[in-house]
């Protein structure tokens, strides 16, 4: 296109004068009437191709002169007027054309200029490397405007001025610092973000070298880079590819920056524009991220075990594995991940493999973490116990991506646990087989009881006594002493001395026990260890021995006494009978009969005493105690009435039979009623009750008499111990009673309150 233009220009250059001269000559030669001069239009039109705008006008002036000169030079004729008119018209046409061409040329020139401006803008835009479109735009205009400012081109057009203002705004409000320097590295543009970043004001830095924004050690290198960049073909690039770029603030602080640079040549001068971003924060975040990565890898490296990631496949083919695996299994990460020469599934103990798989599948199915222990084989064939915890990692669409978890060696722990269990088992067994009943109590409640204790308290299962109050299991008589002991122990006394106490079993049976207690403290606080030993047997033997001795003594005494009273009684009896045969008066006969009956009674009692003293074995048969009770009371009927004693009977009906000797039971009743009568000289109430108990029958004889003092009650069953007036009691009654009851495998207990009365409670075994 340009070539064509050039050619036309050259042709027009010499065509116009030749054509003009030719037309002038033809005009001279032709008659006046012919308007050849109009041909000047042709060269005039050709001037369009000439570069100068005014050329058409100049040529038009020349053509007008030549046209009129031709008229003067021609011989005038009749057609002169016509010729003048003709040429006037031609001149008019020429001028109109010339003016039109001139205007056209001017318009054409303007459009060419605008086109050129558009073209260069396109070129610049192509050069710009985009961080941001707006920034690029800004840089472009900034370059242009800066260049214009420096070269003093003040003739920017209105359109560009508006654009400049807008771009100025963008530059000033850009988040990134924008600095433009000229070839000598002197600052020509410095935006507000740059002011904030470096701490200088624009005024201070315009015309100053760029160096001041760099730490001294980078300056030489930077200059070198800039030169290299200027000479390179590229118009823009990112800085810092070769290393971190640092900035220097006015206050001397260095900071990391990210920068990109572009250059532009304006009128053979190079301008560099740098866009800078302070990446201190990003750098810090990156550093923190790196640090946390490092920490994580250190932590993983130090874990006693390994972490893994694997798909949920049969072999647990690891995707990732920490180094700890080689300590645990003896296989290296390489063997698992690269060579794939072993699989973790193979390392798992066959006995545990399926179970572990199942546990993991269940957990994964329920989307919960799994936790399991199992055995593995190490490379050396050792068996190790491991503990694993992990969970499924799910993709955003909910499918299971892989499993992640941690495995650690618990062989030692297992071994320790095993040893602990063993030792626990050993101690547990020691406690279990201990001949002592052992009970642990805390705040009055039973926490633990060994087998012996369970047996001692008559329970079958521990539950029956656990969490019961300790007081429930001791005889009420001992409660104050026990409370005192517990108090002392809780207050810090390490142990209390062994005491003899009486327990009450679940069935209500009393058991003598030796009790010792010690305090200990565990994680739940202070507790008391109580050791109990059933000493009933020992007590019974002791008692029996004592009784044997007593009875031997009693036997001697009784025999002697029997002999002593036998004869006088015989005299009384005989005399009464003698008189009986010789009197006829009924009252006397009745009196004599009473004497006889009473002697008979004494004889019976004496015989019983003797039989007891002589350890005559009771003849035990199934016996209805009710009958015995009624007979005995009948015997006392008169006496009770005389002493104004009310009798209250509460006899269970039917009441189970007991296995007992009738005479001896009668003797027991007589003794007890006799005691009651003696206790109530001023009258009162005698309560006799008979009630069934488990395996036993309970007989109670209670009076409302004067009661027995505490110190006396302990001796109440002792032989020859009596509180009765001399001659009134033998001191043997209750001894005999107790002896008889014990020979019947029963028990007798007494409770008394001074002034309130005394209650005897007898338990006798049922007959079946």
């Amino acid at each position: 296109m340009k070539d064509v233009d050039c050619f036309v220009m050259r042709v027009v250059h010499w065509t116009i004068p030749l054509l003009t001269i030719g037309i002038f000559v033809v005009d001279l030669l032709t008659p006046v009437g012919i308007a050849v001069s109009i041909l000047y239009v042709v060269p005039l039109l050709l001037t369009v191709f000439r570069s100068k705008e005014q050329e058409s006008l100049y040529f038009c002036g020349l053509a007008t002169s030549l046209l009129w000169l031709g008229l003067f030079l021609k011989p005038p004729g009749s057609l002169l007027l016509y010729g003048v008119l003709n040429r006037t018209l031609g001149t008019l046409v020429l001028w109109i054309l010339a003016l039109g061409l001139t205007r056209f040329r001017r318009l054409q020139h303007e459009s060419v200029q605008a086109e050129r401006a558009l073209m260069s803008e396109r070129v610049e835009r192509a050069h710009a490397e985009g961080l941001m479109m707006e920034a690029q735009q800004a840089r472009y205009y900034a370059d242009r405007e800066a260049v214009r400012a420096v070269v003093g081109r003040k003739e920017a057009e209105e359109q560009l001025r508006v654009s400049q203002l807008r771009l100025q705004g963008i530059i000033e409000s850009a988040m990134d610092a924008i600095i433009t320097v000229d070839e000598d590295q002197k600052v020509v543009l410095f935006n507000r973000a740059a002011e904030q970043m470096f701490g200088y004001s624009t005024r201070e830095v315009i015309g100053q070298p760029l160096d001041r924004f760099l730490p001294a050690r980078y300056r030489e290198g930077h200059r070198h880079h800039m030169r290299g960049f200027g000479q390179s073909g590229a118009t823009s690039r990112k800085m810092g590819k070769l290393g971190m770029v640092m900035g220097l603030r006015l206050n001397g602080e260095e900071f990391p920056i990210e920068a990109s640079i572009s250059h532009i040549a304006v009128e053979h001068k190079k301008y560099y524009t740098v866009i800078l971003r302070d990446i201190t924060d990003r750098k810090r975040t990156e550093d923190a991220h790196q640090e946390s990565q490092r920490q994580l890898s250190t932590l993983i490296g130090n874990l006693p075990g390994f972490v893994y990631r694997c798909p949920n496949d049969r072999d647990w083919t690891f995707d990732y594995l920490s180094e700890g695996v080689s300590d645990l299994t003896g296989y290296t990460v390489r063997e698992y991940l690269v060579e794939r020469s072993t699989s973790y599934s193979d390392n798992t103990h066959p006995g545990d493999r399926e179970r572990v798989r199942q546990e993991i599948q269940e957990a994964v199915a329920q989307r919960r973490p799994y936790e399991t222990t199992y055995r593995i084989f190490t490379k050396l064939g050792e068996v190790k116990s491991v503990w694993e915890r992990g969970e499924g990692i799910y993709a955003t669409d909910g499918t299971l991506s892989y499993l992640e978890g941690f495995v650690t060696d618990i062989t030692e722990r297992k071994r320790a646990e095993h040893l602990l269990r063993q030792s626990e088992e050993r101690y547990r067994r020691l406690i279990a087989i201990s001949p002592y009943a052992i009970v642990v109590i805390r705040s009055d409640r039973i926490l633990f009881a060994n087998d012996q204790a369970i047996k001692l308290f008559g329970a079958v299962k521990a539950d029956e006594i656990l969490s019961r109050s300790v007081m429930d299991l001791f005889h009420p008589d001992y409660h104050p002493a026990i409370r005192e002991s517990i108090h002392e122990l809780v207050e810090g006394r390490p142990q209390v001395p062994m005491l003899e106490e009486k327990l009450v079993t679940l069935s209500g049976r009393s058991v003598d026990a030796e009790v010792s207690a010690a305090r200990f403290v565990d994680e739940e606080g202070p507790a008391i260890l109580v050791m109990l030993r059933d000493i009933s047997e020992r007590k019974r033997l002791q008692e029996q021995l004592r009784k044997t001795e007593r009875i031997a003594e009693l036997g001697t005494v009784a025999s002697g006494m029997a002999h002593e009273i036998g004869t006088p009684m015989n005299v009384i009896l005989g005399r009464a009978e003698y008189l009986m045969d010789r009197v006829t008066e009924e009252p006397i006969k009745k009196g004599l009969q009473t004497i006889i009956t009473q002697v008979e009674r004494i004889t019976r009692v004496m015989n019983q005493l003797l039989s007891f003293a002589r350890r005559k074995a009771p003849e035990r048969v199934a016996l209805d105690l009710k009958q015995v009770v009624e007979d005995s009371l009948e015997m006392f009927h008169e006496r009770l009435a005389r002493n104004q004693i009310q009798v209250e009977l509460r006899l269970a009906d039917p009441c189970p039979m007991v296995l007992a000797d009738a005479d001896q039971m009668s003797q027991v009743m007589i003794n007890l009623v006799m005691n009651a009568v003696h206790a109530m000289p001023e009258g009162g109430t005698l309560r006799v009750a008979l009630a069934p108990e488990p395996q036993m029958v309970r007989l109670t004889v209670a009076d409302t008499g004067h009661g027995v003092p505490r110190e006396v009650i302990k001796k109440i069953f002792d032989p020859f111990f009596t509180t009765k007036e001399f001659g009134k009691g033998t001191g043997l009654g209750l001894t005999v009673v107790k002896g008889i009851i014990e020979e019947h495998q029963g028990s007798i207990a007494v409770e008394s309150q001074e002034g309130m009365g005394t209650t005897f409670t007898i338990l006798l075994p049922k007959s079946e």
């Binding site: 002999h563 009273i565 036998g566 015989n570 005299v571 009896l573 005989g574 003797l610």
Partner: protein, 135 residues
């Protein structure tokens, strides 16, 4: 034999051995009323002498008294081999009873004894005892 015949024909002779005066008196009163001829002894030695003098038809004796005791019946038996001996002892036991019977006593009673029982026993022994046999 002769004596037995005499005893049968005459009143039977009863030796009462008892150290307690009241008891002895009681027995005497009772058996006297029965028509027996009574002889009394206050201890074992007197009884022994009495038997040596003449053997009674029956001996009613206490056991625990001076010159009495365990071997007393045996000694008495040596001098009166066939005479019925009835022992009355205060609150004896089964062992004593067996021992006394073994030593030769014909009957044993614990004191206190109903006199009627005693009388029956004496009567029976006199009727069916050695004297009866001899008849």
């Amino acid at each position: 034999m002769r004596m037995a015949t005499v005893a049968k024909e005459k009143t039977a002779v009863l030796l009462i051995v008892e150290d307690d005066r009241e008891m002895r008196s009681l027995l005497c009163d009772e058996f006297c009323g029965m028509g027996y001829q009574l002889r009394e002894a206050r201890d074992g030695d007197e009884a022994f002498l009495s038997v040596l003098q003449s053997v009674p038809d029956a001996i009613l004796t206490d056991l625990r008294m001076p010159a009495g005791g365990d071997d007393y019946i045996g000694r008495l038996r040596t001098v009166a081999p066939r005479c019925p001996i009835i022992v009355i002892s205060a609150f004896g036991d089964a062992g004593l009873k067996a021992q006394v019977l073994k030593a030769g006593a014909n009957a044993y009673f614990d004191k206190p004894v109903h006199i009627a029982d005693l009388k029956n026993c004496v009567q029976q022994l006199l009727n069916h005892g050695p004297g009866a046999e001899s008849r």
